[in-house]
Amino acid sequence: MENATRFNTIAKPTWCPGCGNFGIQSAIKKALLSLDLQPYEVAISSGIGCSGKIPHWINVYGVHGLHGRALPVAAGLKLANHKLVVIAEGGDGDGYSEGMGHFIHACRRNVDLTYIVHNNGVYGLTTGQVSPTGDRGFASSTTPHGVLEWPFEPLALAISAGANFVARGFSGDTKHLSGLIAEGIRHRGFSFIDIRQVCVSFNPAKSYKWYQERICKIEDEDHDATDRTKAAAAVLRDDECLPVGVFYRGSKPAHEDGLPQLAAGALVEQNITDIDVHTLMDELV
């Protein structure tokens, strides 16, 4: 379509130079362009953190809401107007600390939306506390003696909770990442993409070089992405390689498919000017 810059905003991000968020921002825009979407057709619901600010810098409708609460808002957006392409987005502190409960239920609920988590192992905007994916022993202002909790694997949790599309990406490979995001958007149901990224300010040890030495592509291996058990094994693998790509593609019907009241059109398209409640009142006589 004309205007390849239509998703650009005049305002520029306030992220640190070298932040992994730039790569993710670029990959999202590329993905939206590749799907021939228009700005007004897309809504991003984000949480709070450096990553949460992203809808200010992509020209779409955005709700930059509450810490950990991007998913419920995204579900409401989508169910009210299922013709929108809805993306829920935020960081790992936002999504896996505060928002962990909503994450699990969003996987179960399988509304047709795409959840993108920027995963850098720390809380960036509040200056570097360890997140639920940070290594055990990580020293930060709140864990000066090293955090005692172990990191969890979000992809395994997503698979077991029923997400219909589960993938991992890397902010340093925007071409591959934009393909993942486009496929996630196209894939019906709840699509989850955890994106490893560098935080140059607060987690410099996990640098671009660190990631590039470990990243491998799951599609280069003989992986059956239709099998949940194999997908779970693949994400819990504990070796030197950090695989990126699509681990699981499920075929459950989306939540909206169970709502016949949406067949005639989106909720927001209904005429509500003169609703008659006389039949309902008669039922109460």
């Binding site: 007004y40 020209n59 579900a75 107007n81 909503h102 927001v268 609703i275 409640v277 109460l284 006589v285």
Partner: protein
């Protein structure tokens, strides 16, 4: 001999069908053209303990219920022990003489009419099980009241139809036997009868059903909630009618998700609502602030129950007023409305959506268990003149000709036209951070100050000088009661009782809590001879809100905070004592 004026209660253990029995009795009376008020009392338990359902019956509109009972249908002996002190002299106790260990003579000596009937033997003759006991009880009560059985048969059939023809026949048979036995053995010793009256068709519904209907009429298309007594029946009613009404109803994983989905749906341009009680509203707090900051319409029903914390989950109180008025950090306008009866519950639920969209604020409808869960007869709502008004919204066409649409433009009224996702030309980012006119995060002092003023002045144009309060009775009366919410029922009932005894009092009902009708309330209070605030909480919260808004201090207060509502006769006595 009294006709068509009755205070009836059925009591028994949880799980024994007490609520069903009470509802059937209420329905029988309502279908007979009588006014009815039903109050259900139950502990937070599934089986055992004690449930009761009280039905007030009258040929005139009933506001609330009395402590005094005319008939107690006791489905267990525990009910008799609990309620005999409430039965008036000459009042009847209907009970199962086969199973009960009660001494009828003792009841007689205490001035009651013991109506002991062989429930178990009736059930056996009919070939049914223990589930028939409450029908036997209802039949017996109707016989005692000499209510023509043929008048009640169709409603009984109707009630049990969904259980199949055998159930219908058994219930009818059981009810008739009990009816005839009671009529024959006891009716001539009892001083109240019930008979059909000619009256227009009336609905029998709860406050929550009235709210649900008002919301449906307003065009609500999305509802998300989490079960919490006493708001759950709104979720249940809308879920039952979801497809018929073309809406989507979600039981979310928690209250935070429920209100989050509601806000998302509202932002998308659908009329959306959630409902909860105090504990759930505590969880929703942060989202109320998000609605305030992003200027997204949000309608929330808060049906109060006694706190603090889990409190008394199935009882009533009006102790969240100040909490609701100040909810969420920072300063932003919110609209808070407290309906006092069914009609207002329906009307204000409808209005809430117009207000939320016009002023782009949270609107909170403040109810409580007594209003949400009680049942009243009411003629079908008059829906003429109820017009949906969606406020300032921009569609594609006007946007196309605007070079720089600013979602949060500084306007004189403070209200800026909004735009729904999916609309070409309107893409913007709503943010919980402080922002400039375009919605970009902004920390500039001058912009911040102007944006605060913009948001705060939005509800200045909401005129509550007339709709925000109501004066019942004569403002020349020697005493004025001030109250709000569900206590309206007891206060108006007490007013009638006192008027019968020659005492006239007036009642200032406050309806809009935010914005507050300060000038009018101050004026009315200044003219009153004597003022007493009647509230269902421990700290006189309305009196405090009145003082904050008007400077007027109400010294005399009548407070009840036992987890139960004010009863009509109880309140009338208290008022009488203060006169």
């Amino acid at each position: 001999m009294m006709t068509n004026e009755l205070s009836f209660m059925v009591g028994g253990a949880a799980g024994a069908g007490i609520k069903t029995a009470g509802m059937i009795f209420a329905k029988l009376c309502s279908r007979a053209g009588l006014h009815v008020f039903g109050n259900v009392e139950y502990p937070s338990i599934i089986r055992g303990d004690h449930n009761s359902y009280q039905v007030m019956v009258s040929r005139k509109r009933v506001f609330g219920h009395t402590r005094i009972l005319d008939v107690l249908l006791a489905l267990d002996d525990h009910s008799i022990a609990l309620h005999t002190d409430e039965i008036r002299s000459g009042g009847a106790v209907v009970y199962d003489v086969d199973k009960s260990k009660i001494d009828g003579i003792e009841l007689e000596e205490r001035g009651m009419l013991p109506v002991g009937l062989p429930f178990q033997s009736i059930v056996r003759k009919v070939g049914g099980g223990q589930r028939l006991l409450n029908t036997v009880g209802i039949g017996a009560t109707m016989g005692l009241l000499r209510f023509d059985f043929d008048a009640i048969a169709p409603t009984l059939e109707n009630t049990f139809a969904r259980h199949g023809p055998d159930a219908v026949n058994q219930n009818l048979d059981a009810a008739r036997r009990a009816h005839d036995a009671a009529a024959e053995g006891f009716a001539d010793r009892f001083d109240i009868t019930l008979q059909r009256e000619d009256a227009p068709k009336r609905m029998l519904l709860t406050g929550n059903e009235a709210v649900a209907l008002g919301a449906i009429k307003a065009g609500v298309k999305f509802y998300a909630g989490y079960p919490m007594t006493p708001s759950s029946s709104i979720l249940n009613y809308l879920a039952t009618h979801e497809r018929e009404c073309g809406m989507v109803v979600k039981h979310a994983e928690d209250e935070i998700s429920a209100v989050g989905m509601t806000l998302g749906a509202s932002f998308a341009g659908a009329r959306a609502m959630t409902a909860t009680s105090g504990g759930g509203f505590s969880l929703m707090c942060e989202f109320v602030g998000l609605a305030g900051m992003t200027e997204t319409p949000l309608v929330i029903v808060e049906s109060q129950r006694p706190g603090p914390s889990t409190g008394l989950p199935t009882r009533t109180e009006q102790s969240d007023l100040k909490f609701v008025l100040s909810i969420s950090q920072g300063e932003f306008p919110r609209i808070v409305i407290a309906p006092g009866d069914l009609q207002e519950s329906f009307r204000f639920a409808f209005d809430a959506f117009n207000l939320a969209e016009k002023y782009q604020t949270p609107v909170i409808l403040l109810m409580d268990k007594h209003l949400s869960d009680s049942t009243w007869t009411l003629e079908p709502f008059d829906t003429s003149g109820m017009v949906v008004d969606r406020g300032a919204r921009l569609e594609e066409a006007p946007l196309a000709s605007m070079t720089d649409y600013k979602r949060y433009a500084f306007t004189e009224s403070g209200i800026s036209p909004r735009v729904a996702p999916g609309t070409p030309g309107g893409a913007f980012c709503a943010t919980s951070d402080e922002h400039d006119e375009e919605g970009a995060i902004c920390e500039d002092e001058s912009v911040r100050s102007k944006m605060m003023e913009k948001r705060l002045r939005k509800i200045d144009s909401l005129d509550v000088s007339k709709c925000g309060w109501k004066l019942h009775g004569d403002n020349e009366a020697e005493l004025m009661i001030v109250g709000w919410g569900s206590t309206t029922s007891a206060i108006r009932g007490a007013m009638n009782l006192l008027a019968n005894g020659g005492t006239s009092i007036s009642f200032l009902q406050v309806i809009y809590m935010s914005p507050f009708p300060s000038e009018q309330v101050a004026e009315v209070l200044a003219k009153a001879n004597r003022v007493i605030a009647v509230e269902n909480n421990a700290t006189a919260q309305l009196a405090a809100v009145i003082r904050e808004n008007t400077g007027t201090q109400i010294e005399d207060v009548l407070l009840k905070y036992s987890g139960r509502q004010w009863l009509v006769d109880e309140l009338a006595e208290e008022i009488q004592r203060r006169l």
